[in-house]
């Protein structure tokens, strides 16, 4: 493992030790965050799957209803019937914070609450089959919005998970080993110096004793 190029001084050692402590704590926190994100993500994905299947089934129903309505009316009449929508929907987008991820929250309001007031056409030329298609379609809209919200959230969460995981890995496999190695290196270097120093002192001491002895002999 590569070590950081630093001066092997005591000051540097203290600094690195501090960094290591911070890195370890960060690593633990990020790991917790990742696990929690994962849990939420899996929950969301499960719900998302259910909802998607439901919406798809409903849309299939709408589609087949429309097809049949289309078969019993001419295209001009069908298009005229639907060209001017009666119901208006306003959509408000706000955000919600899930584990520091801003996920969208879609809130929609229909202009009129009366569910039977969504048909913008007259009844004389249109087929009853169209009513069914429109009703199912209006029923499916809230679910579709919910689905959109969920899928976007899942996407954002997935991104966040990936980012967090990359950070966790970087800490775990790069920064922390690097720091430990460097600390080890500095400690060794310092110890080496210490030993060198000691030997030198002992040598000096020996030499001084030698000198003293010679002086005594004279």
């Amino acid at each position: 493992m590569a070590i950081i190029r630093v001066n092997p001084t005591r000051m540097e050692l203290t600094r690195l030790k501090k960094r290591l402590v911070v890195a370890r704590r960060g690593h633990k926190l990020l790991k917790d965050k990742r696990d929690e994100l994962m849990r939420q993500f899996l929950d969301l994905v499960r719900k998302n799957k259910e909802l998607r299947e439901k919406v798809e089934e409903m849309l299939m129903k709408v589609h087949s209803n429309f097809l049949i309505a289309r078969a019993v009316m001419s295209s001009e009449i069908l298009e005229e019937a639907l060209m001017f929508p009666k119901q208006k929907v306003s959509l408000e987008v706000s955000t919600k914070n899930v584990m520091s991820v801003d996920v969208p929250v879609l809130d929609f309001k229909t202009q009129s609450d009366d569910q039977s007031n969504i048909y913008p056409y007259g009844f004389a030329n249109t087929s009853g089959e169209l009513d069914g298609a429109i009703a199912t379609l209006s029923e499916v809209l809230p679910h579709m919005l919910e689905l959109a919200q969920m899928e976007k959230s899942a996407q954002l969460l997935a991104e966040e998970i990936e980012k967090t995981r990359r950070r966790v890995n970087a800490l775990e496999y790069v920064l922390i080993p690097q720091l430990t190695e460097t600390i080890k290196y500095i400690t060794m270097k310092l110890d080496e110096n210490e030993r060198g120093n000691l030997t030198r002192l002992m040598k000096v001491k020996d030499m001084m004793i030698e000198q003293a002895r010679q002086a005594m002999a004279h």
């Binding site: 097809l67 049949i68 289309r70 078969a71 019993v72 001419s74 295209s75 001009e76 009449i77 298009e79 005229e80 019937a81 060209m83 001017f84 929508p85 009666k86 039977s116 048909y119 913008p120 056409y121 007259g122 009844f123 004389a124 030329n125 087929s127 009853g128 089959e129 009513d131 069914g132």
Partner: protein
């Protein structure tokens, strides 16, 4: 308007009798339903000499073009051979009203929808557009003018696009009734009454399904039919059995009972809509025994419109791979 002498119709009726044979019969329709691909079904149409450009339209997906042309062809033929072509305005007016709806809605939406205008009306769509745009409607029938003025006024007050359809739909039938009465032909007067009653019955059931108030129902029922409004209003809040009972002694009793019971069981109006169309065909079949008169011409027109409906159901079904049973369930009876 005086009624033309029945003898004047001799040529027209003879002509109709000759081309009537070319209507798609049960056998051909069955062959279309059983066709394995849209192309195969389409080929039967081309063989039946549909439209003008049968040879040029190569793809089965362009069947709508062919149907539109065929409709135009029928109107053109009838106007050509009928001694009193203006009577056929009775059946063309609904296209004018359709165009009026499209034009009004486009204007209020501020967008162009010229591609869904129909050109089979009595007033050319482009002319109608200018008339409505300039609010200069002196050239059109008074019922229509009043209806258009009323729907502009109502829309400006309420902003409700449905009101345009409702007012103009009602005016369509009122106007049809006027033309029929002016022609003094009993067959036409009866036919319009049948139209109005059947439309009212279907509307009633749909309004009931949507749980609307009788006030709303009262507004959209079309006056002039045989069945009194009171019947509809009375049964709006009560179970359908009472309504079936009330219709029992009208000419529509038998099939309405069948259709409404099916509606109660399945929640779908498919069967009833089919049965009402069948009733109209049964009604015009009387014309088969009329030697001279306008009846066979009207019957031919209705038969052709019915046939176009049948063809559309089959083609949509074939193109979208709908099973033959579902197609058959919705097929109307053929005239021949």
């Amino acid at each position: 308007m005086t009624v033309a002498n029945d003898i004047q119709y001799a040529y027209a009726v003879a002509r109709i009798r000759a081309i009537e044979r070319r209507l798609l019969d049960r056998g051909k329709i069955d062959r279309m339903v059983d066709a394995k691909s849209p192309e195969e079904a389409f080929k039967i149409l081309v063989d039946a000499d549909y439209g003008y450009s049968a040879g040029e339209v190569s793809s089965a997906f362009e069947y709508e073009t062919l149907l539109r042309e065929e409709q135009k062809k029928v109107y053109k033929l009838l106007k050509e051979i009928a001694p009193q072509p203006e009577i056929f305005n009775l059946f063309l007016e609904k296209n004018d009203f359709h165009n009026a709806k499209v034009i009004l809605k486009s204007e209020f939406l501020g967008r162009e929808f010229d591609d869904i205008l129909m050109d089979a009306g009595t007033i050319p769509a482009s002319k109608l557009k200018i008339m409505i745009k300039d609010r200069n409607m002196t050239g059109m029938p008074s019922t229509m003018r009043k209806a258009i003025e009323e729907s502009i006024d109502t829309f400006n007050r309420t902003g409700d696009p449905q009101s345009i359809d409702l007012i103009l739909d009602s005016a369509t039938y009122t106007h049809m009734k006027e033309i029929a009465e002016r022609s003094q032909v009993k067959f036409l007067m009866d036919l319009v009454k049948v139209f109005i009653d059947l439309t009212n019955i279907k509307t009633f059931l749909r309004v009931k399904r949507l749980k609307k108030s009788w006030d709303f129902l009262n507004k959209i029922l079309i006056p002039g039919g045989r069945i009194d409004f009171k019947v509809f209003i009375e049964y709006l809040e009560t179970p359908l059995e009472g309504f079936i009972e009330a219709l029992k002694y009208t000419p529509y009793g038998a099939f309405c009972e069948e259709g409404i019971i099916d509606y109660q069981n399945t929640g779908s109006l498919t069967k009833l809509e089919k049965l009402t169309d069948n009733y109209v065909i049964q009604f015009i079949k009387k014309a088969k025994y009329v030697a001279f008169g306008i009846e066979p011409l009207v019957a031919y027109l209705m038969a052709k419109e019915n046939e176009i409906k049948i063809v559309r159901i089959i083609m949509v079904g074939k193109i979208n791979n709908i099973s033959n049973e579902i197609i058959r369930e919705r097929l109307r009876e053929a005239y021949v």
